[in-house]
Amino acid sequence: MPYRIEVENLNVYFGESHILKDINIKINTNMVTSLIGPSGCGKSTFIRTLNRMNDTIPTFKKDGTVLLDGKDIYDPNVDVVDLRKKVGMVFQKPNPFPKSIFDNVAYGLRIHGLNDNDVIANKVEESLKAAALWDEVEDKLEMSAMGLSGGQQQRLCIARTIAVEPEVILMDEPCSALDPISTTKIEDLIHKLKHDYTIIIVTHNMQQATRVSKYTAFFLHGEIVESGLTDKLFMEPKDKRTEDYITGRFG
């Protein structure tokens, strides 16, 4: 199976500071890849490079290539709008819009030009079901999303993301603001979604990495120290630094 994302010799700078150094990684299609590492190691910067969210930062510079389905996403001909439709993102803190539950999911559909209300309603229902939220909200779709619990809000953000039918979903510590029960729900959801989507998840929780992902990459000081099958990386780390981190000696 071809790789969904291939990153070659990626370097990222914010002004003078060199944030990501010589990143090389291949992300498998329709599997979950975890990115682990201590705070400030560049994991978040890395996934924000994959949907070009860093473009909004004026001092952002990069060299190297990022290929999605074999095509360079930083090619001048690439439309960022299309790219972000294909590469969705779920943030650390649930960030629903202060709109109704329905409109939160319909938003992405509408901005991409869909205006048939029946089609939108079907898509919204489908997405909420896929995000395992439908049963909890089906009778209050017109209520503000801000009234939902944190865990529900995060699943709504996932529903909003999958509504526009991305290929890849980036998750930036999606459970770090949630309680354990909500975390379990999101992890169950990830297991369900991995059949249809390529998921890259940043996490501080190493148990979570082992629970949800097939592959793991360990970041340290802006470099990938080690990457490979999750089981292998955790059971038999090749690098001393990986071993120190996963056994809790630092980080």
């Binding site: 949907n51 969210m53 909004t56 004026p58 960022v80 709008v81 299309d82 790219l83 972000r84 439709k85 969705g88 993102m89 943030f91 803190k93 960030n95 629903p96 819009f97 202060p98 709109k99 938003y107 992405g108 901005i111 991409h112 209520m143 503000s144 999303a145 801000m146 009234g147 939902l148 953000c157 909003r160 993301t161 526009v164």
Partner: protein
Amino acid sequence: MNRIISPKNSQKIMKTIFWGSGILTILILIFIIGYILVNGLPVINFNFIFGEPIDNGASGGIFPFIVSTFYVTFVALIVATPLGVGGAIYLAEYAGENKLVKAIRFGSEILASIPSIVFGLFGFAFFVVYLSFGFSVLSGGLTLALMAMPTILRTAEVSIESVPKSYSEGSMALGASKWQTIYQVILPAAIPGIITGIILGMARAIEETAAILYTVGAALQVPVSIFDPARPLPLHLYTLATEGISMPNAYGTAAVLVVIILIITIVTNALVDRYTKKMMGR
């Protein structure tokens, strides 16, 4: 250690002082409004509100002046709102931080603190004379627009900037363009603050006397065209009082003005409150 006042007592004293200043503010407000209503309400009846003035306002009603007030304020807001909100969107979302932006912000602060009589003089020289709009609703409305604009701009800018960054990130990550994000996510979230700015701007326009003294003229008829002269309530009030035409009618006019402002403020506050509650799911 020797303390003159114990922490417990100083806490009590300060709390009393703050409580006192709060109560005093309310009392002053109640006193002023009460004084005007007590003196003004006796002359208010159907004929006073809907009648034509007789003898320059010595008797009869104030209907043309009520219409003038709404008309001139409306013209002012029609001009000032898009400029103010547009400028606020530019400053908060597009401009970044550079010298031009600092100059615009500084300029609008200066503009907000210029005495209104200076605006009146400028309006006279520019709109009435230079652009030949004459003493008219248009000249008065544009002059008031200049005064209301910086208020709307500053309030709207602060309210747009206080929309959490995470909203626009969420929108951009779905592939929305900058404008789609502003129009569909940021502005709806900032609307309560923007409305507050428009109301503050409106309050500045509706109660203004000096700025319209040289620009709207002093008509006694209901203005129809925007080139007709007019006489908004504050100006009528000023004329009644300074020329000693009728003090009871001056109080009556003041009472009507106060009630109009109270109604507008209370109604918009209630609407904004309802919108915010619905939006935030409370």
